[in-house]
Symmetry: C2
Subunit: 232 residues, 2 copies
DNA sequence: CGACGCTTTGACTATACTCAACCCGTGTGG
DNA sequence: CCACACGGGTTGAGTATAGTCAAAGCGTCG
């Protein structure tokens, strides 16, 4: 059923429309149809790799359904998670404009559907519809800002503070609930925050002892005192 | 004299041409002339701020002459240097496509000349000449890759290794000399590498004791054993 | 039910930060 | 031209932070 609800605006099935919003949502139906002819869909099982570092890049990948983790290996071989993609997010763009070789790994955290646009098709689209470029530029600059914020945090904040900031920023600002749903295992979270599972575990219990949070289940944390967390 | 040498390709004074190369060097003379009418020049003395975090952004800044440091303040107020701009590099782009508020500081490390293009003028150029978008996209994706590399290093490498990597990557691949010219004071370098001046000083002497480098002067370091440095 | 992987707990340790003192080079003013 | 002051750089001692390693607990999925 749900699969066949169509979007009023572009006439696409609803989840297609949603996943393409950030880049294409200003296009009208005829142009959208053109874009659709260029899109290839592919599904990945949980745990499957979407691409690997060193592989040739030939497409932009947009997450339609599921969740994807992007990670790198450092010079000394340690894994570090760079970000988690949710439906509507895209990746693969780094290699599209330069090297054409991926510098990171992408793997499906759950069963995932991906929309792909081939490198050449995308470049043609960009030249034809400059507005799309602006969207991607805007998305890039967001990502860059976020990456630089993360860099600065690693360089200047203690682990404790990085965890606290992560929790606070994971709060859904729209809902009134102060419960955070961890988007990944604590092992992965450790990698994302540049620390170890042991340290995460210890710090969370410290926060709990201080009355700042309450660990409801493994993946659910209630934040009792936002301001307190940020003063750590 | 040198100021009046003109570029064969675009007809501009040479240093203008050089500083605009990364973004505009595919344009022919008539288009280049159009771009030139949109460019405003400004000079800054050593130590002067070009922009500050929180200020409204209304331009893209291209370094024509001199050296500029871009830095942020972390949540807890510590300064961290994100990058150093040399002639031809640009900045200010983050705010151009989104927030329109700077999230970092830019200050001149030496007497500096800057070319500026106003936000609106640039956006019009991008819509008119999609190729420029591709250049900026390419530059963005470079920067993003670099920033993510830096993030991964902070998250996974020890200070020693970060210093070693910095030295090796500062080697001018073109010249045969293995002498690195530090582009900033050790105090700033410490901030860039997420450590302290004391630690930098100590590690450099450790490298020297191990025969990996030779400290010629304060700002000149000869690298004796590249591979050894990377095995630390 | 069993096994595997994630998480927790504990004890120990390394890494690198802090603070304080001192050194040095450069630029300024007498 | 010298003296001094200032900022950057170095050195040393002490310590906090967070990582490592090992073992045991827990949950979940086949």
């Amino acid at each position: 059923m749900k699969d066949h609800v169509h979007c009023h605006h572009c006439g696409l099935e609803n989840d297609y429309c949603i996943s393409l919003v950030p880049i294409f949502n200003h296009l009208e139906k005829p142009q959208m149809d053109e874009v659709m002819t260029l899109i290839h869909s592919k599904s990945y099982k949980k745990g499957e790799d979407i691409y690997q570092s060193g592989h040739t890049s030939d497409a932009l990948y947009i997450v339609r359904k599921g969740r994807v983790k992007i990670y790198r290996l450092s010079e000394s071989g340690k894994e570090q998670i760079l970000r988690i993609l949710n439906p509507g997010d895209f990746t693969g763009e780094l290699a599209l404009f330069n090297e054409s070789v991926h510098d990171a790994y992408a793997s499906a955290l759950s069963d995932t559907d991906i929309c792909m646009i081939k490198r050449n098709d995308l470049q043609n689209l960009l030249l034809k519809y400059p507005n799309i470029s602006m969207r991607i530029l805007s998305e890039f600059s967001n990502r860059l800002a976020q990456s630089e914020t993360q860099t600065t945090r690693f360089a200047t904040e203690r682990v404790e503070m990085r965890i606290a900031l992560f929790l606070v920023e994971s709060l859904d600002t729209k809902s009134e609930s102060h419960v955070v749903d961890l988007p990944m295992s604590k092992k992965d979270l450790a990698s994302f925050l540049g620390t170890t599972p042991e340290t995460i575990s210890r710090k969370l219990f410290e926060f709990e002892d201080a009355g700042l949070i309450k660990q409801i289940t493994n993946k659910k944390i209630e934040i009792m005192d936002v301001d307190g967390l940020l003063l750590i």
